[in-house]
Amino acid sequence: MSSVKEVGVILGGPQGSGLETSMNVLARALASRGYWLIADREYYSNITGRHSYIHMLVSSDKQPRSLRYPVEVIAAMDAETIFTHFLDISERGVLLYDTYVSSKTLSEVASMEEHVKSRIEKNIQRLGLEPDVKSILKHLSEDKHISAIGIDYSKVLKNLSEKYNINARFLSRYLSGLIVSAVALILGIEDESVKEAFQQYFKEKTIIAEQNFAIYEMLRKQLEEYIGLVKLDPPAPRHSKIMVASGNDVVAMGKIVAGVRYQSYYPITPAADESFLLEKHSDILSKYKQPIGSLIVLQTEDEISAITSAIGASLTGVRSSTSTSGPGFDLMIEGISWAGMNETPVVITYYQRGGPSTGQPTRGAQSDLFNAVFAGHGEFSRIVLSSGDHIEAFYDTIMSFNLAEKFQVPVIHLLDKFLANSLATMDIPSLKDVLVERGYISKGGTGYKRFSLNSLISPRAPLGSEETVMWYTGDEHDEYGHICEDPEIRVKMYSKRIEKDKIILESIPLDYKFTLYGGSDFEYLLLGWGSVKGVALDAVDKLREKGLKVSYLNIKLLWPFPTLEFRDIVKSIPEDRLIAVEHSYGVNIASLIRQTTGININKKISKYTGRPITLSELLISLDKIISKETNRVVFTYGE
């Protein structure tokens, strides 16, 4: 088999059996070979037992930005994975499976939801197969020329247990290593990289790393004939050090770089992992040579306490933030309204997930745009920023703190589960140009007026400033912060808090408002924000290869909306050449644009199954839309 530029991989198995570990180790091994990759993690709202999988794309020449079906390699921990994904393997691809499951039937898979089961049953019937693994395996190898490679998992593990004298109870913990090893062998990654990946991931637990590598060695023998069966091209040159991290991770790193000193959170998917990483660094911060102070990460009793205590911390001059998803954000709204009223900088990292209500807690969505932009009673200035990928998310996190302090407003950094839980390789961010911008910091002093009307942004002195007293109140107030119901003061203060929007729009550089990808010669403009960026860029590249002049506008500044610049950029084409894409029902960015610019976008691409839009879905839908077959396409692919 000749080598390829790009390989798609799915690792599947029950939740709680270590797939996240597999993903992390495999990613490190691949990265250390110089490959680029992206990996999405799909899982149920469940701790143990339901079907979960990692969907990866590995590339030899550039950072992959989206996922695609079918994939070349699937590694199945269990029968459920085979039933769920057998249609996702490309012709001549590879299926790694446990020989133990070959006798399983679909009806035996208890952990599968009834609806999923009956849907899969229909697919199996359509193909004229039996609802059992055997029949599927036969179909795959005979009809699709797929190499179905069986491994006796329990035998491998038994060998391991004998070698290291491991209690049988703990053996299942090594399944993740088995999967990594098998896939690494198929992809032909060098031993050394696999070994180091285990070592790096398991850190001090060197014995665990060793044991996992022992599995690899066992499998290497067993799978000898398949090594490098799916071989990647030699990687294009890249930096000698690269980063492998999830969206949650990069945001946490961004916060530390930005100087966050108080982070409150109430656990919620998919936000909690960010705080966990920050928590780990509570002490490290104090350990570094510079006196950079301590970072307090606090699990609060609820989201109301999270936002209000973060605001409290901010009043003392500290960079503070909190992190949540939809249900938690709802509870923070009254607090955000207080921050707006009191011109208090605070950063809210808002990871969207499937709604409404508890919704699909572990699935992705972009359906909270309006909640972020409009929730809260009364009118006040806020900034809503979105990030299109991991690197953007890192810098945007830092930017969020700068903007919050410069303009003394709450900043909502709007992300989502797709980004939060997906892993990607990236160049190590450079901190060279990462500068702190604190805005108008004052030392206070006698007669200090926190809400001075001399300028739209008043001098901000921290609580505790020498010789200074100040007042804050959620009530309308005078320049000192005392309650005041005078209509004239009301108008001045109320206007001040809204008219900041103007200077925000003036000060933020264009590339922090949106970025055009693909070229300014576009005849069609695809537009969106956040996690559709990757797939949109890939689609743009493909279409441009075919000679279609499509570009993508990645909108970052969602509020205040950059109306003038937006109008300017789209003016070269008619409205009916604008196409919006979003992981939501409404494709709400189109409504926001109509509201703020008057421009009508009635071509919409949407997906709201909780799974990410794939490249082929986007290409198909663009084709349908450009060919005027339809104005709206809704996709549903992916389990």
């Binding site: 060098e190 030699p234 050090k241 980063m243 790193m253 102070g293 109140t473």
Partner: protein, 317 residues
């Protein structure tokens, strides 16, 4: 003692004439005077209600927050800048109705904050509805029906939640209250004072006359000592405090129910995970305009678990 600072703000105080809040205000001002607290290092954090307005009537920093949320705001302030003396004021609706969850959580944290409850048994600022401290069956002026909720006992709830200083004062006995406030402020850990506060406008049951007849001082009983001095005293003194907290009716005790300084404060606990916390708490970090906070090297060593070295010979044969 002549204080260096004038603690009364020069605003007109818009409580009803005769309101018990005036007593709390005076006691607080006197306590601040006695302690000579620096106004710029003192913060009153208040909720929403008649009680919440007190933040504006005192000439120290004032943060008048949201209904029920004074405690978490105060928590953020105190944790970020432990140098500040933080005093929470709230109504009974505020702290024990909508804010009850935070009230309980503060006890678990034992943050070095003082919480002063303006307990008037009604929702003053919204015109006299029953508050969580109004007993079952009582019908104050603005109620159409007698109250259908049993009262929550603030002292008992504070004890159950883990406050390490628990007391009750009476708004009209300002000297006694002033001493309680001073002790609460000086206490190391979360301190709570339930202040019985007549509302002359809406509460025609728990009036000054009502209290005058019933109130007595715990400190008048020479056998009652609320201070836990040794660990083995914790349980009996705690139980005694609980028992005393249940006294209500013809005789209502005021004074200190329980003090236990053997419990670690939140500040101490935070220092364990963030060793620099005491020297450089969040508010003392230096975050300078126009500079990066950490350099590239530090960054890469902090997050080394995410950094992979790319092999020279990148390709497997």
């Amino acid at each position: 003692m002549v204080s260096k600072w004038n603690y009364k703000s020069d605003l007109w105080i818009d409580w009803c004439p005769g309101c018990g809040n005036f007593g709390i205000h005076s006691a607080l001002i006197k306590a601040l005077e006695d302690l000579g607290l620096n106004p710029s290092k003192t913060v009153i954090v208040s909720g929403i209600g008649c009680s919440g307005k007190i933040a504006h009537f005192v000439n120290v920093n004032g943060v008048h927050t949201l209904h029920g949320r004074a405690i978490p705001f105060a928590m953020g302030i105190k944790i970020a800048n432990p140098e500040l003396e933080v005093i929470v004021h709230g109504g009974d609706g505020d702290l024990l109705g909508i804010g009850a969850g935070h009230f309980v959580a503060l006890g678990r944290r034992n943050i070095d904050i003082t919480v002063i409850l303006h307990n008037n048994n009604v929702y003053g600022l919204t015109k006299g509805q029953a508050s969580p401290t109004l007993p079952l069956g009582v019908k104050t002026k603005a109620l159409y029906w007698p109250n259908i909720h049993e009262r929550v006992n603030p002292v008992l709830l504070a004890l159950a939640s883990g406050y390490t200083f628990v007391a009750r004062g009476y708004a009209m006995d300002t000297n006694h209250l002033r001493e309680l406030i001073k002790k609460a402020i000086m206490h190391k850990g979360a301190a709570f004072i339930d202040v019985l506060q007549p509302c002359v406008t809406f509460n025609d049951i728990y009036t000054m006359e009502f209290y005058k007849k019933r109130i007595y001082k715990l400190e008048d009983d020479p056998n009652f000592d609320p201070i836990v001095r040794k660990d083995e005293e914790t349980l009996p003194k705690y139980l005694k405090a609980v028992e005393k907290s249940l006294e209500w009716g013809d005789r209502i005790p005021i004074g200190i129910f329980y003090i236990n300084e053997n419990v670690s404060t939140f500040e101490e606990r935070l220092s364990e995970r963030s060793t620099g916390y005491k020297e450089i708490p969040p508010a003392k970090s230096i975050i300078e305009e126009g500079k990066p906070i950490i350099d590239q090297e530090t960054f890469e060593s902090m997050f080394k678990e995410f950094i992979v070295n790319v092999k020279k010979h990148q390709i497997n044969k």
